[in-house]
Amino acid sequence: MLKILKYSFFDLMRSRWSYIYFFFYLILGYVLFFLNNDVSKAVITLLNIIIVLTPLIGTIFGVMYYYSSREFTELLLSQPLKRSTIFIGQYLGVALSLSLSLVIGLGIPFVAYGVMRSGAIWDFTSLLVTGSFLTFIFVALAYNIALSFNDKIKGFGFAILMWLFMAVVYDGIIMLLMMKYQDYPLDKFALGAMMFNPIDLSRVLILLKLDISALLGYTGAVFQQFFGTSMGMVISMAVLSLWVLIPVWRIRRVAGKKDF
């Protein structure tokens, strides 16, 4: 598997798009840190970008890589290799190269700006961690979709729809539901709803750092416990991990049964 991972990884690392993605973050980081000079504001801007962009890029790259390497995958399938080895290897290659673009791209300006003299290092680190989580999750989801649709156009369309749903529509539905049923106690529902969308979940993780003062303004006991103790952090991390593991498990399962 390591060999496949390595080839996919270097294959992607050499592609133009990886460079563009890397330089995008590099320039973004420099612009934010040096033009702004306000780390906490930079972190908030980064949050907005990372929450939306890493899932989108993960989705697009995941689907694109699957379809564009389909014939190559067939070549690998005829080699003495296990199927799960091939697909998990490729998946990890894509997810890892994208995460590295993110971490290094943003990390360089941040280190250049001075990690030590900034109090925002933990905010920033958790941004990178959630960004990487989102990349791993959405590449896995994209692989799942691509495995389920042989038609490239359909797969691509469906993947973009999934991203749109997770990034925007889902929150809209949740907000409307909460407003409609505002007379009922909603704190469990609100937190539960966040668990079923990895984008929301990562956002909540960041909110724990940036907006804890506002989050603690709500009276509900469940909220108080979730946001006021380390429970929120622990649960969010655990569920995020599940969001990686379940799609990866499904990649293995579907890939094992699929005809090529």
Binding site: I4, E71, F72, L77, S78, P80, K258, D259
Partner: protein, 233 residues
């Protein structure tokens, strides 16, 4: 060598293979023929484990292969369309397959024979279809596997390369290999095949020598024999 028992495969509502029984016991070149959509590629991919049959069994050297992967060490496969990762160079691809499979030195002679030296440092995405097919040939024949499967091997080859390919196939046959070939070029079959397996609508319509097929259909050459079968269907 290869034993296929009651193999069924359908894609959705299309029954591609409807109970194939085939045993290949002795080395030699076996041509798998049939009209488009008759299930040739599906049969080959079933042997390779790329297509998973609904029913039936495949044994290679007496071992069940469904769900296994190690047996593919014994098979060299040349796919129909040679699409490789665009960003990889030819040499890198060859090294990579060696790395994944086994060390070999056979590639050097093949590269020379097919005149691929100038292309070794080129990216696969920049190669012509014929050159890619040559790379495909190198990748296939650089391992010394007892079973060789060729899916439309002549696509895009120039006459010189075609001659080299035929020589290669003959040489491998002489070394006691079993070679499965699918092709639409009937001359090639007449020229090299020891046996013909003719697939029609997911069944084996004919299994025997070229001469036997011509005799059965009362035609003087293979092309006409095939046409005759399809006409009478």
């Amino acid at each position: 060598m290869v034993e296929i028992k009651n193999l069924h495969k359908s894609f959705g509502k299309v029954n591609v293979l409807q109970g194939i029984d085939l045993a290949i016991d002795e080395p030699g070149i076996i041509a798998i023929l049939g009209p488009n959509g008759s299930g040739k590629t599906t049969l080959i991919k079933s042997i390779l484990g790329m297509v998973i049959p609904q029913k039936g069994d495949i044994l290679i050297d007496g071992k069940h292969i469904l769900g296994e992967w190690n047996y593919r060490n014994e098979i060299s496969y040349m796919p129909q369309i040679a699409n490789f990762p665009q960003n990889l160079r030819v040499q890198e691809l060859i090294n990579m397959i060696k790395n994944l499979r086994a060390e070999t030195t056979l590639d050097q002679a093949l590269i020379q024979q097919f005149g691929l030296e100038p292309f070794l440092d080129k990216k696969l995405g920049n190669l012509s279809g014929g050159t890619r097919q040559k790379v495909n040939i190198v990748l296939t024949f650089m391992f010394d596997s007892p079973l060789i499967i060729l899916d439309e091997p002549t696509t895009g080859l120039d006459p010189v390369a075609l001659i080299y390919l035929k020589e290669l196939i003959r040489r491998e046959k002489e070394r006691g290999k079993t070679i499965l070939v699918t092709t639409h070029i009937m001359n090639l079959v007449e020229e090299i095949a020891d046996k013909v397996v003719f697939l029609l609508d997911g069944n084996i319509y004919f299994n025997g020598t070229v001469a036997a097929l011509e005799e059965q259909t009362g035609q003087s050459d293979l092309e006409r024999a095939i046409a005759e079968i399809l006409r009478n269907k």
